[in-house]
């Protein structure tokens, strides 16, 4: 299939809205465009509308308003079984009364593919997920990870160009989950499949995706590659939701030369990078990642503002130290330092001076 859309988008949501009860919108004005071959993750807390979006794309829910296009064709009125989209479900949804091979043959059978060809494809798909010897077993006889692989193979066996995954790793233990994360991305990139992946696990989203769409309150809060998402959150929801984050409340005093001077509520002054604040006197929430805080002011530029802090707790975690501080009235200010040679180990009660580079400190909306 050639990219018919003008901007080269393979999957497109245009002004999509969804309401279940006619009173509240679950998805509010969704616009999204994905190029072919992209691995996009929809990340968000439960109830943020991410699964609804996936279901609309799969065809199990209809959009209340707006247009969903696949390869340039509107699919709003195409029933799910004609969309040709592979889907992996949260509980795998392997048919318990069929063997693994029968499960995999099912999509080929309903497509009326001949027996010989079918068997060949099933075998290839099972080999692809390293489950070649399990064709004769029933789903109940497999472990969670094995079922997950079979579900993946089943979603891919009929060679769809788009695969949807709805929290497919949610039921697995941590180690297996990490292994499968790698396997899934590897497979998706190898086969060049466009993938929409839904999860509420941010680590999963960051490690697997080409781009992540952070959902909240029925809207995409930010759509960006993982590094950008982590380092340059565009609003305080994203900053809070992705990774660990320290926040300080304050008011904009001055904006000049791409820097904002923020007066914190306890009177201290800090330098920040203004993101979605523009007016003097506006309330703001300042966000600093724990690993960007500096104990050694010598490493900061000369005119950098510093703050006094009191050590409340020191947690030794092996590879890193986690220090909890009281900063400007915030008792949960976390600083992470690497367990490097010469790194200081602070004791509770110590008074220290902390600081950071202005570009690591982002002044966001106060909401």
């Amino acid at each position: 299939m050639a990219d018919a859309s003008a901007n080269g988008a393979f999957v497109e949501f245009e002004r999509v809205q969804k309401s279940y009860d006619g009173e509240t919108l679950v998805v509010k004005d969704l616009n999204l465009s994905m190029p072919k071959g992209e691995f996009l993750t929809m990340l968000g807390p439960s109830g943020s509308g991410k699964t609804t979006c996936l279901m609309m794309l799969a065809g199990f829910e209809t959009a209340t308003h707006g247009d969903i296009r696949l390869d340039g064709t509107s699919i709003n009125n195409i029933p799910p079984h004609k969309r040709g989209i592979g889907m992996v479900f949260q509980n795998y949804a392997l048919f318990p009364h069929m063997t693994i091979a029968e499960n995999l043959a099912f999509p080929l059978e309903v497509r009326k593919i001949g027996k010989a060809k079918r068997e060949e494809k099933v075998k290839r798909a099972l080999d692809m997920v390293e489950m070649g010897d399990f064709g004769g077993r029933r789903p109940a006889q497999l472990s969670g990870g094995q079922q997950q692989r079979v579900a993946l193979a089943r979603a891919l066996v009929f060679e769809p160009e788009l695969v949807l995954m709805d929290e497919p790793l949610g039921a697995l233990d941590k180690q297996l989950r990490e292994k499968m994360q790698f396997e899934i991305t590897d497979l998706a990139h190898r086969l060049g499949i466009t993938t929409v992946y839904v999860t509420h696990d941010q680590t999963e989203a960051l490690t697997m995706s080409d781009r992540v769409a952070v959902f909240d309150d029925g809207r995409i809060q930010q759509l960006a590659p993982p590094d950008q998402l982590y380092e340059e959150p565009e609003n305080s929801f994203v900053a809070q939701f992705i990774g660990e984050n320290n926040t300080l409340e304050g008011t904009i005093k001055e904006i000049k030369g791409g820097l904002a001077l923020v007066q914190l509520d306890d009177g201290g002054l800090i330098d920040c990078k203004p993101i979605n604040v523009s007016e003097i006197g506006q309330r703001t929430r300042v966000s600093i990642r724990p690993e960007r805080v500096e104990f050694n002011p010598a490493r900061l530029s000369d005119d950098a503002h510093t703050l006094k802090a009191e050590v409340l707790e020191f947690i030794y975690m092996g590879d890193i130290f986690r220090t909890r501080l009281r900063v400007a009235g915030n008792n949960d200010f976390i600083v992470k330092t690497r367990n490097a040679p010469g790194q200081v180990r602070l004791k509770p009660g110590e008074q220290v001076e902390i600081g950071w580079l202005p570009e690591d400190c982002r002044a966001l909306d106060a909401a």
């Binding site: 199990f60 079984h81 592979g86 048919f95 999509p107 089943r154 009929f158």
Partner: protein, 585 residues
Amino acid sequence: MSDLKSTGPQTMDAPTPEDALHEAKALNAEDHRDASGRLVTADGRSLKSSLNRALRLQKARAMMLIAPLLIFVLVTFIAPIASMLFRSVENEIVANTLPLTTDRLESWDATQGELPPEAVFQDLFFDLFLAAEAKEHTKLGTRLNYESTGVSSLFRQSGRRLDDIGEAYQDPLEDLNEAWKEGAVWFELMSGQGQTSDGVVTNQIDRFNKLTSSNLRGDIGFAPSEEIAALLPKTTRAYTAWAVFTVFEDEDVVAAEDPWEAVYAALALDLQSPGAADRIAAYDGPQAELLQEAAANLEILPEADFTAAFLDIDEDWGDINRWETFQVYSPKYTDGYFLNSVDLQKTPDGFEARPENERIYITLFQRTIFMSLVITGSCILLGYPVAWILANLPTRTANLLMILVLLPFWTSLLVRTSAWKVMLQQQGVINDVLVWLGLVGDGSRLVMINNQFGTIVAMTHILLPFMILPMYSVMQTIQPSYLRAAKSLGATNWTAFWRVYFPQSVPGIGAGSILVFILSIGYYITPEIVGGTKGVFISNRIAYHISSSLNWGLAAALGTILFVVVLVLYWAYDKIVGIDNVKLG
């Protein structure tokens, strides 16, 4: 394994290399074995028996908890079933009522075309006389009437006139000597002298108990001497039988009562037996003169001809077919009830089909099974969509609908069935509506009740909940994601249902079908009310035999067959579908 290590050599202080060596040895030796190589515990007992001992206590405690229920089930469920199974083959009544006759009949060959010999009729007289006095002969008559119509009245009639046969011997004896009227004289004569023969008394007590289904024991205050038992065997037997009856049934004293007519007849037979005169002449016990006088005047007694006497009462006694029936049904256990249940009957040569007009049970069994299948099928067809809707609606609505499904359970079965009568009868609601709509002429109203159609409709309605509930509980466990997965894989709605949903709902269908089929195969009330003659089930026939014809043996045999049919179906179901697949909730 490491639990057993405590027996290995251990030291309290810090481990040394030597300790490690010991430990290694202990590891090899730690699974203690006895001479025959079995594992044993530390103190040398067999590990297996030790484990059993430990588990036994737990089991005993668990057993005590379930004991009340177990006993309850045994007493109220297993025992009645066992008793019913037994009743279907039990046939002791013939041998218990006519013990002498059935014994002697064994050697009679019915195919010769001749009546049984005189001895059989003699035995029949004594057996029947006692049975008639105990009023047990009519029960036997009823029992044998199942096999040969008319036996009942034959026995009842004969029972009334047995006295006449005995009086033919009693009167001449009493005319000869008034002393024969005296109970005390009889008692003295029969008691005799010397060693008493207790075996005769015990035999007669056993016989009495069997005849009257009682369990009486004790001293009857009479025992014949061995001498008199050898001299007058039949009289001794008849007198003892009378004595037992007098003590246990009439609660009188033996010595104070006159014996009944059968005893005189027995005496006459003894006196007439060859060589009796010589032996009596040699007898010197009490009342020997009286006996010798009677022996000397044999000519006053009529010739013993019981055959003629019975034929005189009722010429049916001359019917060889009757005697064949008695012979065929004299064993203590019989397959007669079962043969009857499948429209066969027993003859001396084996089995043969019953006459055309008496064959009903095969038809009834076939009809019962066929209609139960139709009802089960209708329940599946009607119940499946309902269960599906219930399983897929939001809980609130589903609960409301579930109440509607359960509503019939809260209404009396009789009311529901009667309601169908109102609906389906020719002047009923449905017919009225059809006539009003002009679909059916007033003269040609549909017959929908008192036939198979009515039974099927009413029973489908009544048994529907039993189908819906298990289906519902199974369907509830089928996650909607299976259907979605199927559709996302390219299946149409129908294919997704048929290939993915339906196979997973089969256990529910199976459970519901077993329930409905087993319930309907034994259903009674509904077919009785709306079934007419064409729509009744085998259970209606069983009920008839239990409560009206009182042929419990046949009812038990029919019930046993039904029971076996259900077991066979259950077994077949297990083989085909697998009973593990049945889910009731």
